[in-house]
């Protein structure tokens, strides 16, 4: 376990990170467009991944999802624990929604108030770690 983690951008300029969702290891896309006004939902999963972890979630609630258009739809969510693989102290309890894609949203990161993210544009990496760690913040 390290106190900081480097997330490299890929050839599509996307940032993917390995995470465990209730013990299942998955690839999640860091998506700063994925938010919730109450900041209760930190992770979205595609149907297959959601079905895989569903039995380990609790407190199921359907929630309203909205994309670019005005229409909204409802999707199931449950509470579970999510952590970034290899990053010490990154366990977060958050709602996980069955929303058609594997995404790590803003509200996951907002549950880590002792951490910061350094986005290195020249090297196209994101680094996350505890403030005062080897991240250099």
């Amino acid at each position: 376990m390290a106190d900081a983690l480097v997330i490299p951008g890929d050839s599509n300029h996307e940032y993917h990170v390995r995470a465990t969702v209730m013990g299942f290891e998955l690839d999640l896309l860091v998506d700063t467009g994925f938010t919730h006004d109450g900041c209760l939902i930190g992770v979205a999963l595609d149907e297959a991944s959601y079905r895989g972890v569903r039995s380990r979630l609790r407190n199921f609630v359907d929630i309203s999802l909205r994309s670019l258009g005005p229409a909204s739809r409802f999707a199931e969510s449950g509470i579970g624990v999510v952590a970034l693989v290899g990053l010490e102290g990154s366990e977060v309890e958050t709602r996980i929604v069955n929303a058609g894609a594997n995404l790590l949203g803003v509200c996951y990161f907002h549950r880590l108030p002792e951490f910061s993210i350094l986005w290195d544009m020249a090297n196209r990496t994101m680094s996350i770690g505890r403030m005062g760690s080897s991240l250099g913040t």
Binding site: G38, R58, D62, L65, R66, S67, L68, V97, A99, G100
Partner: protein, 79 residues
Amino acid sequence: MSTFDEERARDFAAYEQLKAALTEKYQGLYVAIANGRLIKVAPTIEEAREAVKQYRHRLVFQAGAEPVRGTVYIRWLTP
């Protein structure tokens, strides 16, 4: 005709009125509220969801859990 926001406000008002009773009587079961009233209590979330699928706004949740207010925004997801 009510707006979506008005329907949502009605459903959450109904939830607030029913909250204590739902938790006490139906803990662990699934609840569906729509049109400002309790529509269904069911052993599975699928059954509860089915009972209110015709309503534009609805609350479907496990009794004892707090329904989630607000909207999740996923910018790029196809509607």
